[in-house]
């Protein structure tokens, strides 16, 4: 049964990818890339990758589609140029594809239980992580404790993305949006006419933020964690901005404070690492945080998930503010 679901989802993915390649209207491609991420996420669920499906859906369909839409909102929705040098590209692509297929010939079959990767490092995570780290969700325990330095790198990558948007577009660019709107005489640049939508969204935003907090602190026992919580929290803010306009949203939280929150998030994560250093353990070794190592692990994971959540939330909202502040430039 699972095989049939896998194969159908994969054929849908192939179909969407071909459609994305053929259609030349940018808006249609963005919609199809939204569907592509949804399909990917359901494929991940059917392959038991629950946290990854969570993140891929929240990021691929949510944030990426919203950012792409605000980009083509500020630029143009027409793809004019025909594909250049298709034959050469087809050659290169087929060559790489052939090498890859040649490479997978020796790989273990799909779902084969005695593949090497299931017998070397992974068994210890599955057996020992409850005694050593004390969280049911093995992925969270690896993410935050065994390979915690990778997650610090991940947080810094998100922080870099936010910094580059701030460096390239700049805070003043975002502030200028307000007076550019007023100059153009558009007083209410929001979806004022949608009364029903406004009430529903006003009702939903607090629930969404509450759900984000649930996901944040539920990371140990079920799918979820800092990154997913940050994205959902940011989608609550994005809902607010879409409904009530960028000016109102910027009055709620200004881009400058968002960059401070992001910096504090990364510093929380790094700070936990440095306190473990000062308390005698290695960098990011949570056992030294509390007398009882298991509690230390819980405290450490809690703090760094908080750091990841704050950083991701503030950077996602910051990038969205920067992109939607370019909206008025085109007219």
């Amino acid at each position: 049964m699972e095989l049939i679901i896998d194969i159908t989802l994969l054929t849908f993915l192939g179909l969407t990818a071909l459609a994305i390649n053929r259609i030349d209207k940018l808006f249609c491609i963005i919609m199809l890339s939204g569907i592509y991420s949804l399909l990917c996420a359901s494929l991940f669920v059917s392959m038991d990758a629950v946290d990854v499906a969570f993140t891929e859906a929240a990021v691929g369909t949510g944030i990426a589609t919203v950012l792409l839409l605000s980009t083509i909102g500020a630029t143009d929705t027409q793809q004019r140029s025909a594909p250049q040098r298709p034959l050469f590209a087809l050659l290169v692509v087929c060559a790489t594809g052939a090498i890859l297929v040649y490479g997978t010939m020796d790989m273990p079959a799909f779902g084969d239980p005695d593949a090497p990767i299931h017998h070397h490092v992974a068994p210890r995570y599955l057996e020992m992580s409850q005694q050593e780290v004390g969280s049911d969700n093995i992925v969270t325990s690896i993410l935050s404790s065994y390979r915690g330095f990778d997650t610090l790198g991940e947080t810094v990558v998100i922080f870099t993305a936010g910094l580059s948007v701030v460096g390239l577009i700049g805070f003043r660019g975002m502030q200028k949006f307000g007076d550019r709107q007023r100059a153009a005489g558009i007083t209410q640049d929001d979806m004022g006419k949608h009364l029903v939508l406004r009430i529903v969204i006003k009702m939903f935003i607090p629930l969404i933020l509450l759900f984000a907090l649930y996901v944040q602190f539920h990371g140990d026992f079920g799918p979820g964690g800092g990154f997913q919580a940050g994205v959902i929290f940011a989608s609550g803010f994005i809902f607010y901005t879409l409904m009530f306009g960028l000016d109102a949203a910027m009055r709620v939280v200004s881009p400058r404070t968002l960059s401070y929150i992001a910096a504090l998030g990364v510093l929380t994560y790094g700070g936990v690492g440095i306190t473990t250093l000062l308390m005698g353990g290695n960098f990011l070794d949570y056992n030294v945080l509390r007398p009882d190592p298991l509690q230390g692990q819980h405290l450490g994971i809690f703090l760094i998930e908080l750091g990841v959540g704050t950083t991701v939330f503030s950077i996602m909202v910051l990038i969205f503010f920067a992109f939607s502040s370019r909206k008025g430039l085109r007219q």
């Binding site: 179909l15 249609c28 949804l38 996420a41 929240a58 605000s70 939508l197």
Partner: protein, 124 residues
């Protein structure tokens, strides 16, 4: 008694196959859809069907506590629909650019962004 409960997984399996078929047809509509709004509707419908498929998969694989993911899908699906509507807010000429078939919408004058109200007829 237990024989009745054995029936349920096959019901789930049948339902998820049907849902896959529905998702397939929505996907085809999303790719072919003449007007831009068809695509938005198709994506919205695709999202809801995926949520239902996930709930069924959760029950099929015996781990019903994964329904948080289904809830996030519903949330994200709603978010992308609202973002698209925000994108189309007050920009009718953009809608024509985004429709694939260059159906000659008899637009006598280019509707300026603020004029609301129907000015064109749009169908296959």
């Amino acid at each position: 008694m237990s024989s009745i409960l054995e029936l349920m997984p096959s019901v789930y399996a049948g339902a998820s196959l049907a849902l896959l078929a529905v998702m397939g047809s929505t996907l085809v509509r999303a790719i072919l859809g003449p007007t831009a709004f068809d695509r938005v509707m198709a994506v919205n419908m695709f999202g809801t069907k995926t949520v239902l498929l996930l709930s069924l998969l959760g029950f099929l694989s015996g781990r019903p506590d994964f329904l948080d993911i289904a809830l996030v899908y519903a949330l994200v699906n709603f978010l992308s629909t609202i973002a698209v509507l925000r994108f189309f807010e007050g920009r009718p000429q953009v809608v024509k650019q985004c429709s694939t078939t260059d159906v000659d919408l008899d637009v006598n004058h280019d509707a300026d962004p603020d004029a609301s109200g129907p000015t064109t007829a749009m169908e296959e």
